[in-house]
Symmetry: D2
């Protein structure tokens, strides 16, 4: 499923943006004259996580042609992420922004983006077959499908990734604000998921994807339908109850949440994906990769930032040992 010996291990595709948070994530925007800025965006966080875990990571995306874009690019360069296929939008096109505060005890995320935002301006003409062919895997996350021309570019990437036998990962990553209606989501998620070798999403995200043709499916029904397309691994998350992993060969795992003192509800998914994919790319078993994933997610939600919460492989492995000491096995075949 995953080719060996290519220049890059993985190319995440899509949103590379700026997160602006209140400093400790325990106060509101109005309460805090001071703020913190981080690099953000789901595929960007995945790229950062994988790079910190030692993978050779590239990226396909588009940023603003200003100092905010400069910051995002230099942050990637400092982590040795390949930025040769991160394009600059036209003047005055803004980079995506997300403001996060804690309001009445809850994480309050304000997405500052629109159809005009830089990441959604990625063009088909910017997609280079050679670059895709140089990577063992690509990760498409759902937001990049929300509007053209980025949507069109993603399907071009999927077609070229399939032609060049890259492992295709679809990380559903649903953000309600960017879509026009539920059918539109279902249509384009379905079209993308048909290409994928690995599909990762919450139960709600799978239900949203399938709602045109199915209702109230079990995890097994969901997994089986995608196995009848191209999928080999399907991971379905159930929030605080953990997640379930299925393989086309018939393996099944229940993955528990690693206990943690969470400061926010975001970023866990990207940490999960980056550790799981890094595990597979390093040649670890599915079970081992899932262990790394759930512990990485726990680390990410305990920190105010997403991208800056990611850790190195030795740190992650040490955290995994501690988590098992504390809670026993995290991943159980059934």
């Amino acid at each position: 499923m995953i080719p060996e010996n290519r220049k890059l291990d993985c190319i995440p595709v899509g949103r590379l943006a700026i997160d602006i948070n209140t400093p400790t994530m325990r106060e509101t925007f109005a309460e805090s004259p001071s703020l913190r800025r981080y690099v953000g965006g789901s595929p960007a966080n995945t790229a950062v996580g994988m790079a910190k875990l030692g993978m050779k990571v590239g990226f396909i995306g588009k940023i603003s042609d200003d100092s905010l874009g400069d910051f995002a690019k230099s942050f990637f360069e400092n982590l040795n992420i390949d930025t040769t296929h991160i394009f600059r939008a036209e003047k005055e096109v803004p980079i995506g922004l997300a403001f996060t505060e804690t309001l009445n005890g809850k994480t309050n995320l304000m997405m500052y983006r629109s159809e005009g935002v830089a990441d959604l301006q990625l063009q088909c003409s910017e997609i280079d077959e050679e670059y895709i062919a140089s990577s063992r895997s690509v990760v498409i996350s759902g937001t990049a499908l929300s509007a053209s021309p980025s949507r069109d570019a993603c399907f071009k990437i999927l077609e070229l990734a399939k032609k060049n036998h890259c492992c295709i990962v679809f990380d559903i990553d649903y953000r309600g604000q960017v879509w026009k209606n539920a059918d539109e989501i279902s249509v384009y998620y379905t079209l993308a998921a048909k290409y994928a070798d690995i599909i990762i999403g919450s139960y709600e995200e799978f239900s949203l994807m399938d709602h045109i043709i199915a209702d109230n499916e079990t995890d097994e029904q969901i997994a089986d339908r995608w196995f009848s397309e191209n999928a080999k691994i399907v991971i379905i998350k159930h929030g605080s109850e953990g997640s379930m992993a299925y393989t086309k060969d018939g393996e099944r795992y229940k993955i528990d949440i690693a206990q943690v003192d969470a400061v926010k509800s975001t970023g866990g998914g990207d940490a999960y994906s980056s550790a799981f994919l890094s595990g597979l790319l390093m040649g670890r078993s599915i079970k081992e990769s899932l262990e790394l994933a759930t512990v990485h997610a726990a680390i990410a939600v305990s920190q105010p930032s997403c991208s800056e919460a990611m850790v190195s492989l030795p740190e992650l492995e040490e955290a995994l040992i501690k988590a098992k000491e504390k809670s026993g096995e995290l991943v159980t075949p059934f």
Copy 2:
């Protein structure tokens, strides 16, 4: 491939519009103070052709809420085409128009449409699974894929048609004016063609569809690639040199053009599709259906209008006998 015994034989989807031509199609717009108006649009012509050949035909589309829309709808009703799923656009949204004249000896087609035109306003929310399930086949033509929300609605139709085992026909019908760039065309044509049981297009249209992943393919290579998806019949047209039909089972046919005194270069494709599909739906062999198709196309290009050139089954069969008497076999297996 085609289910039996449903309420409708076929539901074409998409553009239902008005054609405005110079009276004999031998003069320009500036030369002729008088004009003729017809119902037009590729899937509308296909619907008309199939209805005249005796099929039970429905339609999914959207027209203007004015007298031009009224005319289009009443023209369909007079042919017993089911219009229950032809929706009205909001006030001031125009129906598509095409002006055709003869300029310097050539057919000059002026498409008066834009992203705002009624047929491209078809919404996902207007797509009804029960209606699709009531038909033996659906026909998607390329123009309906050129812009959202019509594009989104087409993919919803394709997903529901597949779920309900309708025979899915993709009639590529490329119109350059409505697309933004060649990659966009390739991306969405490819996504639609993957669903299709029958794909009909010119060699140029197939090349346009495949250009992201292939170049200079032979007819056989094109057909084989689509047989590796869902296609069972692939028809590739070569202009004045006739067309080639391939089946997944290995049948192959060369179809000659029936000789005719053409007055225009448009409308032949819709006549071809409507007769070929009607033949298959009537239970005729592929060879017999192709004979009807090529003769129907010849009739259509010899008349100023497309929709009004379509004929009844007895007329078409008589024309086929005459064409064979004149030119010998039109369809040759090889």
Copy 3:
């Protein structure tokens, strides 16, 4: 108020479009397979009317770059209207269309236009001070103010016409379909009318223009307000009850409708404006110019076309003599 001895007598500005009517204007679009095409658009009709009456006429506008645009331009050229400042829109931008039929005894006008239509694409950069300075008068009609960039270009023309002492005519010509809300109409009509030496409109149009700051005004109140800006002549039309003309110097005229067998309700306004302005430009008195105006309007509504109904000065004068013989004085000072 009107400068003498310039190269052109008048430059109407704005919509140059195509009218497509049923042949006798006594049948619907669905009833009539045959149609007639004419040049149309309010300022285009005004240009045609003035040219036929012997004026030296120019035009500032934008048409489609296709055969429909060619027809519009050649029609103007045949009338010796200067077309050097009629620009071509980009490929695929349509010329404005208006379909007219008679439905249930009433004229039914379907405007086929949108923000993307050629006439609304007129750009500030296309406006040439020298051309404006070469004309004794300019006519702005309301539709050209309905959307940018045409709106912006009109205000540039008004500013340059004022600087160069052209007589500025504002022909309100309200078309509901092209505006977003009543306040937007009032705002931009008011801004334009402040520049005008002559304002012509129906009572409803003046009320629409003034509704932000005034309600239920009398004709005298309306005229006085505009005299406190730049206006010298204000003409207020009251449909079948005729029209009222006021001058800043205190002249007042009641103008009766010339009796006629009308086939449609459109085109009379353009004929009225073209004859009234031609009269003034020829040096006729206001009373004489109003007589020509009301008779010209009567001729226009008795014909299926607007532009082709316009007559020569001898024909108009003969019609005026006949109208007076039949009905007595048409214009009465009071």
Copy 4:
């Protein structure tokens, strides 16, 4: 020129937004993980300045329906600015943002706005004549004219302010990013300036406004042209060389820049306007009002924030005394 005894002294109109700056304004965005947030937008800064100087201030504008909008509104409420006519945009419409850093020794301002931004969504239907009539003055700043529907709403405000004898102030405040071309700027600035009793702008801004009809004018020519419209006071700024004030009655003043250690180049204009208008509204002479203006501007550019740099009247008067002790007279009639 300014009516007495109304409920409010002034209603600024337009942009109420968020400024996000590096903490000391001496580092770049990439250098500083920590940021500071302030309320911003030119008319918002003017409102804050006038409120701190003791004026009764209202506001007409539109903000996002989220925590950033909440912060902006509560900041105004804490200063007793009336917020009853600050509207909320629809969900997902962002409030305007401006990021400011110091890059290579220069203030680098990144405007994060687009046609979709909340402040440009102000609608004509939200403009209430009674509210305008309750204020002695209104301030329109240029950015609110850059796009509809905000542009349309501004002209409605201007028409109603004129009808109700409010003092109309036009603060040109040009921001290049929000306009499409130079003629569009000139057209709409000119239309707005014609209503104004007081016009304040830089020489470059006046030149931009007038460029369709004039070039290379002197300050006197500029002032005289606007005195021939409705203006009574015209203030023309010349950057580091100070500013010039002219009245229709023939007064003329040269105003020097108060010496200061500037940390940024923005915010001085809003401080200037707010103090000058407050002076006039308090009944101070033009000369005294100009003294307050230039000292207030000096204070604003010496602080990282604009809105938070504004001072109270006693502080401003003390600063004026000190500035005069240091530099002598700041305002000289000539």
